[in-house]
């Protein structure tokens, strides 16, 4: 028996619950070893309206069971994305959400307006949680009013699905979750990287040129499962779990903890086939337990 892996989440119908996380899959044109049948969807590398060079090296450093990154949202800007990538996405058999960024509420709105209706753009993931930019990013993610304002600005300019990627760097994630839900988000993604720092004991300064970076990988997984669970308890819209998923069992933890789908990110760096292996592993788990569909998976989700 093959379990039905389809899932409806945040205004989208996906053929599987595993998506490629933003910033770990480029614009979908690389990672050639992945079997695309396993992709429920993909979130593009974060994009700003205008091109950005990103931060100087070193941009990444390995840490116990994970890595810190400070890429600084390097990207070609909206016009290049529309010209070079969206036409490809329009022909693909899975949806592509664009991870959108801005230095102001108005800029998020302007970017949404530019991308809305472009063939190939299936939805938006609002990034209010990037720790590696001087302006915007995280600032919008830890103030409920600002998070809601950005969400509203995007919501007003598109009828496409709007997902909001939350930062873990908050006191109570449920407060932010409810704020963006009220502002019109279709789904939440929990969580982005944790802010971390690593020090070079020869140079007596941070190893990353940006000083701090976003911590990802299995080091953050239990923290992320907890935060995704807390977010899922706080809202009625679906939550997409993300943070340190390396194997199918890790994804299943997020799903049982109340998530509708998951995103796999850093694992792809280590294993270009990770998404396919996780997708297949979830299907095998469901079949081995006699569940005919992902919807039958028991969830642990007491409501707040």
């Amino acid at each position: 028996m093959t379990a039905d892996m389809g899932v409806a989440v945040g205004g989208m119908t996906l053929r599987g619950p595993v998506l490629a996380a933003s910033g770990t899959f480029g614009y979908g044109t690389e990672v050639p070893l992945l079997e695309r049948r396993a992709l429920g969807g993909m979130v593009s590398k974060g994009i700003f309206l205008r091109p950005r060079a990103g931060t100087p090296p070193p941009r990444i450093v390995e840490t116990p069971s994970g890595m810190l990154n400070a890429i600084g949202l390097q990207g070609p800007g909206a016009e290049a994305l529309i010209r070079d990538y969206a036409p490809l996405w329009a022909s693909w058999d899975f949806p592509v959400l664009v991870n959108i960024n801005g230095e102001s509420v108005a800029e998020y709105g302007e970017l949404t307006q530019r991308l809305d209706g472009v063939p190939g753009v299936a939805g938006f993931e609002i990034n209010i949680s990037c720790p590696n930019v001087e302006q915007g990013g995280l600032y919008f993610g830890n103030a409920p009013r600002a998070a809601a304002a950005v969400t509203e600005a995007v919501r007003k300019r598109t009828k496409l699905p709007v997902w909001v990627k939350l930062t873990p760097m908050v006191t109570e994630i449920g407060v932010i979750a409810r704020a963006v839900e009220s502002a019109g988000a279709d789904a939440l993604c929990a969580v982005n990287t944790f802010v971390g720092m690593s020090i070079d004991l020869n140079a007596h300064k941070p190893r990353l040129s940006f000083r701090t970076g976003g911590l990802s990988g299995p080091a953050i997984r239990p923290l992320a499962v907890h935060l995704a669970h807390q977010a899922a308890r706080a809202v009625k819209i679906p939550v997409v779990g993300v943070g340190g998923i390396m194997r199918a069992e890790d994804a299943l933890e997020f799903l049982v903890a109340g998530c509708a789908a998951v995103q796999v990110g850093t694992a792809t760096f280590v294993n270009p086939r990770a998404i396919a292996e996780i997708h297949d592993g979830i299907a095998a788990y469901l079949a081995s337990r006699g569940y005919s569909s992902l919807a039958d998976l028991p969830r642990y989700l007491p409501r707040d």
């Binding site: 480029g26 890595m67 760096f269």
Partner: protein, 251 residues
């Protein structure tokens, strides 16, 4: 690009603390070009680590490395039959299609890594190869060399030229260089047209993480794993490229 569980076939020492690891990777051996690299999964560290392909022998590829941490120490202590996860070939290679008459291959320390393949390709194109290899001392020189002319250089003068490999090298129609970034910066001063293989931290090796940023003279960054790791020396903004990467703490 292939992802293989490659069986180790041999490990040999080529300098103090520096070893060559051979593994069976037929698909990679059949397609790799000089300057390209493989990303190996090492026990005890999280991310893969990039290694230039050192030599190809039939179905086998070789990498050369020093033990600088648990991952590299573990790789050097593997025995035939052990498996290592091998992703490659990655990146672009040296451009040796032009057909000039002399190639000068300048390397420092483990920067020797891409040179045996480069020597083979250069010779196949009819070039005369000058091999220049430097290290801090004679014990740290890679004992394997492959050139019509071989020049050794040591910082302490214990073998060959007393000084750097760059200082010891003659000029040539094509200059290829690999070593610490500060050595490559010196090579860039002398030979702006040299092809250099840069050293960066690397995340994915496949172009998606943007972690291996190389600062360019024209502004902006590109990816050592995709557009690199071989660059025209004059194209790199050397002042913005970290001169030394403390691999010891991370690999």
């Amino acid at each position: 690009m292939y992802l293989l569980n490659a069986p180790i076939t041999a490990v040999r020492e080529v300098a103090r603390g520096m070893g060559v690891v051979s593994m069976e990777a037929p698909e990679i051996a059949a397609t790799v070009r000089a300057g390209q690299f493989v990303n190996l999964g090492l026990a005890g560290v999280f991310l893969r680590r990039p290694f230039s392909v050192y030599r190809v022998d039939g179905d086998r590829i070789e990498v050369v490395l020093k033990a600088v941490g648990v991952g590299t120490a573990g790789l050097l202590s593997m025995v035939p039959g052990d498996l290592v996860s091998c992703l490659g070939p990655l990146g672009g290679g040296f451009d040796l299609t032009a057909g000039p008459r002399t190639a000068v291959l300048v390397s420092g320390g483990v920067g020797v890594a891409p040179m045996p393949l480069a020597a083979r390709e250069a010779r196949a194109l009819g070039m005369r190869v000058t091999w220049v290899h430097g290290a801090r001392s004679s014990e740290e020189l890679c004992s394997e060399a492959d050139g019509d002319v071989v020049i050794w250089a040591t910082d302490d003068g214990s073998r060959g030229f007393a000084g750097t490999a760059v200082a010891a090298a003659p000029d040539g129609d094509v200059v290829l260089a690999c070593g610490p970034n500060r050595m490559l910066a010196a090579a860039a001063e002398r030979w702006p047209e040299a092809q250099v293989a840069v050293e960066t931290y690397m995340g994915c090796g496949t172009g998606v993480c943007l972690g291996c940023a190389v600062p360019l003279k024209r502004g902006g960054f590109d990816r050592a794993c995709k557009e690199g790791p071989i660059y025209r020396a004059a194209d790199i903004d050397w002042a913005s490229l970290p001169a030394h990467l403390p691999y010891a703490i991370t690999a």
